[in-house]
């Protein structure tokens, strides 16, 4: 593992296109700013691993019997019942 020392406001550049900047240090918490192209997924490792594990548990055979759900659920609509918000809360 490469270990570098950085001061607040200093950055490292990965592959010429991913910039990681130390924004703030508060006690044991380091705030990092990450600028990367949109095709580069960036995740907190624990959320990433949690979802990875969940996906691995969910992968199944196409012949798996489906559970019967309690009555009130409507059908999967091609148009979707609700609408996601596209702009993150952070941007407001």
């Amino acid at each position: 593992m490469l270990i570098l020392s950085r001061k607040i406001g200093e950055s490292i550049v990965i592959d010429g296109r991913i910039h990681v900047t130390v924004m703030r240090v508060e006690g044991e918490t380091v705030k990092l700013g990450i600028a990367a192209p949109t095709e580069v997924p960036v995740h907190r490792k624990e959320v990433y691993e949690e979802i990875q594990r969940s996906n691995q548990q969910a992968l199944t055979k196409q012949s798996t019997p489906l559970p019967r759900l309690a009555g009130a659920l409507p059908k999967l609509k091609p148009a979707g019942a609700g609408e996601p918000k596209l702009v993150p809360a952070l941007k407001k």
């Binding site: 095709e39 959320v47 969910a58 559970p67 659920l73 609700g82 809360a89």
Partner: protein, 146 residues
């Protein structure tokens, strides 16, 4: 009367099949990029996201807004740009369902699959407000209340 009812119930239902391309794969399955979304009216509210190879593997998916009527996912700007979504209507969301023996089925509301309806390009998105939702949101089983 009876005859008409039988014809009604025996109307064949045809599963709808849509190719879905996920350039980044799913988390933990980055190498699997091609899927077919199979929606069979007889299996509602579930649908299948089948792996497009000969593995016979699939994910069971559900409309997350059906599974959790109060669901309000915030899709990060980077994902909006990646999927070229111009409007909320452009996005089809699927929640991945986990079915394990002896346990009630659950749906992942932190990391839904978001598909652009026009391009059929999809991505598993970790929503900006993931902390507000469960990775294992329970689905109500028939008969569970008895």
């Amino acid at each position: 009367m009876k005859c008409a009812e039988m014809i009604e119930t025996e109307t064949p239902v045809i599963a709808r099949r849509d190719a879905v391309r996920m350039p980044n794969g799913l988390l933990g399955f980055e190498q699997i990029k091609d899927y077919t979304l199979v929606t069979n009216p007889g299996e509602a509210p579930f649908a299948w996201l089948q792996v497009e190879d000969n593995s016979a593997l699939a994910f069971v998916v559900i409309d997350p807004f059906v599974a959790a009527p109060d669901y309000q996912p915030d899709i990060p700007q980077a994902d909006v740009e990646f999927l070229k979504l111009n409007h909320a209507d452009d996005a089809l969301l699927l929640g991945i369902v986990t079915i394990l023996d002896g346990q009630p089925p659950t749906v992942n509301l932190k990391g839904p699959i978001v598909i652009n309806r026009h391009t059929h390009t999809g991505k598993q998105v970790i929503i900006a407000n993931a902390a507000a939702y469960s990775l294992k949101h329970p689905l109500p089983l028939a008969g569970a209340a008895d």
